[in-house]
Amino acid sequence: MIDVYVRKAGPLHRLDPRVKIIGAVMLTVLCFFLSNLSYLLALLIFMQLLMLLTRVSSRIYLRTIWLAVRLAIIFVLIWPFFDQAGEPMLLDLWVYKVTLPGFLRSLAVAARILLIASGWFILIFTTSQSQLVRGMVKLGLRYDLGLSISIGLRYLPRFLGTMDQIKEAQMSRGFDMRKGGPITKAKNYIPILIPTIAIAMRTADELSQVLVCKGYGASKRRTYLRELQMRKTDGLALFSIASLGLLLILLDIIGLVQL
């Protein structure tokens, strides 16, 4: 649930994390830039082909992308209430009028949502958390912030476990969590949250002492055990991502294919 990294040996797994991060950010920017349905759909098909290269099982993929699909479907369903411009009319049910151009516009928004989702999923399916942080630090993220992020990702599963433990401990003492409406249900979490947070704060205290003991901040220049190396394929991938993005933006500005 927490770490969706899929440990496989595919071409996208070997790619430098920096290239993948740049790719995902570029895709997101590109999505908001493009409003042409044909480009968005072409890009979406391309991303699904890339998804095949991640060798993620279709069950995991469908489960993770379901939330994005749901939002996309809501957009397509609600769109005809509001956007009824254009001809020809496909469906006319009183205030619910589906026109062909309106339908295509709603599909474009749906494609945009799915594109952003699949782009980031490819990144996190194929990049381990430590590689992700290392890549971000190499891209200019401050390394103290990178260290914090690593700590956060490292302790997330542990706190989930701690919380389960405390929940079971409280329930074995006769504490009933299920009663009440939403607000009471949320309040029911307080006897679980307070011990969890107290444990977390003690951990933070110990961690800060560990950091001091390990000589954090002793020297200005930080060295790394494993250095990232850009290979030829990484350079090539970066070049193709950048040129594809620029090409699509150019085509969209010129407006070669109209929606």
């Binding site: 957009f75 989702a117 103290d144 949250l193």
Partner: protein, 182 residues
């Protein structure tokens, strides 16, 4: 931070742990029976960080913790979440800091929750209504955003309530938390 100085070991540890806590609480889903929807307690942790550790830790832990969960659950909200949760924590923390001496603590915290919550509610509304359908007729986006609105409002409201209860509870049960304040 901000002036090129590295964070102190204590700040790094607290920020890391708060990132983990925000992400953990974002994963707690509490069902709303009437609507079959869910809300999470991520907001509560952001406000908690704002009251105890101030704006920087609150903003960063909100952006990174909630952003990470969005990246694995709903990446279509990722750009919005990073900006909105940072602003939410930063504003709530600033209000709590600045007004701390001026008025009753609970009143100040409630005000901070209202302002931070308003940023979250309006932020997601704008993202769904105007940014996702960018370049098209945005009225349909407004329709979708209105459907989502009650969830976000109840999430901010309940998050703020839980955070205020938590701060009081933690200060009693774990007084050493004061040593961690930066």
């Amino acid at each position: 931070m901000g002036d090129g100085r590295l964070m102190s070991p204590r700040e790094i540890a607290v920020l890391g742990i708060m990132i983990a806590l925000v992400a953990t609480m974002t994963l707690i889903l509490i069902p709303i029976p009437a609507t079959k929807g869910y809300f999470n307690l991520g907001e509560a942790m952001i406000f908690f960080a704002a009251f105890i550790f101030g704006r920087r830790i609150a903003g960063l832990s909100g952006a990174i913790g909630a952003g990470f969960i969005d990246a694995i659950a709903a990446p279509q909200f990722l750009p919005a979440t990073i900006l909105i949760k940072f602003a939410e924590g930063y504003v709530a923390g600033t209000i709590a800091d600045v007004l701390r001496e001026r008025a009753n603590e609970q009143v100040v915290r409630a005000f901070a929750v209202e302002m931070g919550g308003a940023i979250m509610i309006i932020g997601y509304f704008i993202y769904e209504a105007f940014v996702l359908p960018l370049g098209f007729d945005t009225s349909a986006g407004i329709g979708v955003a209105i459907i989502e609105l009650p969830w976000n409002i109840s999430q901010a409201f309940i998050g703020g309530l839980i955070a205020m209860l938590l701060v009081t509870g933690i200060e009693k049960s774990y007084p050493r938390i004061r040593d961690l304040k930066t």
